[in-house]
Amino acid sequence: MQPIVRFGNVTKRFPNGVTALNEVNLEFFPGQVAVVLGPSGAGKSTLLRIINGLESPTTGTVSVGDLAVTPANHRAVRKRAGMVFQQFNLVPRLSVMANVLCGRLAYRNIWTSLFFTFPASDFELAEKALTAVGLADRAWDRVDKLSGGQQQRVAIARTVVQQGAVILADEPVASLDPATSIEIMDILVKIAKETGCSLILNLHQVDLALKYGERIIGIKRGVVQFDSKPSDLGEDQIAALYAA
């Protein structure tokens, strides 16, 4: 199978000298739920943000499908790779519907950016996505009036209307309570399966990783420590990942 995301010898060094990723080689495949685990500052976020072009590698190459992730390709890459964030990253003051429609901006030109008008087909997609995450009745509420779990569902709907091939989720449940976390994880995995998207998640809860992941990747100090099925993963490997 052709990988949907490919890291070729990727190193990311920040101006402050921190090496977030050190010669990482990884391939992600369509329809797979991959969970990235690792201690704080291990480079998990950087790994995801590089796929979407929010960060650029210092050396090495990243590609999404047949597209190399370069500044010139950013919008085309983002069309394929939607992103869900820890803090939801929705635009406050706008309605739920407006925020979901923002997922269509990759397909629209400057007129949509200036006058914020979308074709009827985009509204249909947004309504469908909101139904899928169970928020159809809140479409015209202001997004900042919603609870954290609901806001994350709006953010998921925004990636759904992007109709991409990958959903990147950077600590999607780290700001949510345990019950809501399960709810959001269920929705993310269900949507990835229904749309055939590859789901790449950063998590810091090992139990959630083992429950939902089809593949677990451990990262520490920017280096991949292990990359295996949850069933093949030993407790000692996880303990070593979080050891100082």
């Binding site: 979407n52 929010l54 950013h74 919008r75 983002r78 069309k79 939607g82 992103m83 964030f85 803090q87 939801f88 990253n89 929705l90 635009v91 406050p92 003051r93 706008l94 923002c102 997922g103 901006l105 990759a106 397909y107 629209r108 030109n109 400057i110 949509t112 950016s113 200036l114 914020f116 953010a155 925004r158 990636t159 992007q162």
Partner: protein, 257 residues
């Protein structure tokens, strides 16, 4: 008394700053020629002259004059907002397309802000001709100077996360700004625009004294000709219009949060 510093003594900076203020205050004393007896006497005799019946025959003429003043302020503010909005993105440190261009625009608007409206109006009156247009252009230029700077500063402090969300969703250069940043800065933009209108009404009343039209000309005439029966009406009418705008703008701002 002990100060909360390592050696319990006041900081050098605090002492230096306080001393500087005191020196400046002392230096101004001869300059302003304060003479309470004479100043207060003048004030009371001036106030005494208002003890005349208002000239109600003049009142009907007041409305159109006031309306002219408000319209001058409105036209200048409207065009200043319209021009400043697109420019502010390029003046913003965070959202400009080019740092040098941004610094250049901020430099130009700093020049516009540097001159008082009255001075610009005087220069314009002698270059493009006396009349309302000189006043309106003067207000417009000063307001552009103010709004480009303050709009850009509002953009600079918007929350990073929604902007990142919109960027990650694949928005273009414009969309990242208009959809990611503007909704967050909008209450500031509206508040600053209303404040400009408020300032411009007062400024256009002053500029009118140059003959640019509006109520300012009548005020300067009334003062020069000792028409205190008119002056009282003029002062009250300016107060009423400024207060009304103030109430309206705080209502609008409250609704926008």
């Amino acid at each position: 008394m002990r100060c909360v510093t390592p050696n319990r003594a006041p900081r050098v900076g605090t002492i230096a700053g306080t001393s500087l203020v005191v020196v400046f205050l002392a230096a101004t004393y001869p300059l302003i020629q304060l003479d309470p007896g004479r100043n207060l006497g003048n004030l009371f005799s001036f106030l005494g002259r208002f003890a005349v019946a208002p000239n109600w025959d003049y009142a009907p003429k007041l409305g159109p004059r006031l309306w002219e003043t408000v319209l001058m302020a409105f036209v200048a503010t409207f065009w200043a907002i319209l021009i400043s909005f697109p420019i502010c993105f390029f003046a913003s440190q965070r959202f400009t397309s080019n740092k040098i261009l941004g610094a250049g625009i901020r430099g130009i608007v700093a020049v516009l802000r540097a001159f008082p409206e009255l001075m610009l109006a005087l220069l314009l009156a002698s270059s493009i001709g006396l009349g309302p247009i000189a006043g309106v252009v003067a207000l417009f230029l000063t307001t552009v100077g103010f709004l480009v700077k303050t709009f850009a500063e509002s953009l600079d402090v918007v929350d990073r996360k929604p902007v990142e969300g919109i960027t990650a969703a694949g928005a273009d250069w414009t969309g990242i700004r208009t959809i990611g940043a503007v909704p967050q800065a909008l209450p500031d933009f509206v508040g600053l625009s209303l404040y400009s209108f408020d300032v411009n009404i007062r400024a256009s009343a002053i500029i009118g004294a140059l003959g640019a039209g509006g109520i300012g000309y009548d005020i300067s005439q009334a003062v020069k000709l000792f028409q205190f029966d008119r002056l009282g009406l003029l002062i009250v009418s300016i107060y009423l219009i400024v207060a009304a705008i103030d109430v309206a703008s705080s209502q609008i701002r409250r609704r926008l949060h």
